[in-house]
Symmetry: C2
Amino acid sequence: MKIVIVGLGLIGGSYASGLSQKGHEVYGIDKDVETLEYAKKKGYIKISDETEAELLSTAELIILAIYPQAILEFLNKNKMYFTKHQIITDVCGVKSSFINKATLLSSPAVYLSHHPMAGKEKIGIAFADSSIFAGANFLITPLEHTPIEAIKTLDRIARDLNFGRITLISPKRHDEMIGFTSQLTHAIAVSLVNSDKDKETIHFIGDSYRDLTRIAMINENLWSELFLENKDALLAHIENFETELNILKKALNDNDKEQLNELFKNSTHIRKKMEKCAN
Amino acid sequence: MKIVIVGLGLIGGSYASGLSQKGHEVYGIDKDVETLEYAKKKGYIKISDETEAELLSTAELIILAIYPQAILEFLNKNKMYFTKHQIITDVCGVKSSFINKATLLSSPAVYLSHHPMAGKEKIGIAFADSSIFAGANFLITPLEHTPIEAIKTLDRIARDLNFGRITLISPKRHDEMIGFTSQLTHAIAVSLVNSDKDKETIHFIGDSYRDLTRIAMINENLWSELFLENKDALLAHIENFETELNILKKALNDNDKEQLNELFKNSTHIRKKMEKCAN
């Protein structure tokens, strides 16, 4: 398949690497000349005589691996190049805020969004590594009239990159779920680390603190966009979490050992089921 | 050194295994006959003709690897056996609540507490594995009059088990720090998992959710004791964490991208320093 990847960062670069290895004809577009040179040198993308306009108008699949707010700008700037049999997708962690506009701007091409649930606490193509996708969740967010062919194309991309479970989900439900499993976890890790006012903490940490706070190392520009574009869902999840934390605080204040035991048994039960399915 | 380990669970069993490998003469005491047989069969402890009373009165070092509330009970029941040149220690995750009473009951032996910052989300000797201590933090909590020889003995045990950094700290400061790095993290993970009311979450999790919630699988009897015995420090840390979470919530509510960026930059900065030192 002729694929153009727009934005060769950690995720775009990893896609380019993995899809090239699978024999796809992969081209790249990036504002940064050095990044393009690096991707060519590494064999992640092909060298081409075509202009960006030519690449965009002849690609079968265009993958936008850029920040949420850059997507509409890119589509608007290049909408004259899109054609009927093309599919355009993105890898963003939020969907509802831009997906309808993106669909309109992409026409007559089909816009079908997806979300690869994998990553690293690193930025840039130097850390590109397609093995991060192995076994990870891959979410496709079709709209009501999305043609089945577009879904099949993304399904093939997911398989070629060795993703694990592939799930179809509406953009709204996607954002609700991601607000919980991804954004709330980052909000918690950031707040936990920022609440540390002690200079000697490093002497007293075990694996639990390290594991829980790893994602507090965060790409601030990307994540502030993701948080704000999914603000309502995230705030609701934070409040549910606070409610649970208050139950635990009350049990502590009341010296209620039985209630603490119940809370711990419940969390163990819920989390164990995920361990089994996840591995 | 002649060592008696009381309580051959995950930690006691792992100590027995590691210290036997280093050539110490290790004996075990446990309520469960099968556990004792297993430990002997595996070579974690020696077979002995001595009674428990004889073992306790001739040991150079007694390691109590039992729950906090069982420690005083054990010391009280066996106080007639302790002698002047013995050291008694425990592996508990909290200290202040029992350490003065333990010191009195152990006399004329020296009571010196410590905390191995390592573990597994598993219970029992079947999961014993002394490699979990490699490179981990080892905290020793002396009192004002603790003799230097006792500290040297625990220091040797820590080295023999391949712990990393060995830190001396007062029991009170220990409990404050552990309330943050260990208990708060467990309280957060438990509350996060318990706030999940959705049956389909498993389809939408990535590594961040898995890493952050692993410790929500928790030994409820042990941890409810640990939480309640360090309740004041833990509640104070929960409140500091809630304050930080509220700052983040306010930034979201105000659409304050700049403030979010600041929070993320700050957490990244703090956490990165721990990454470097920790590995």
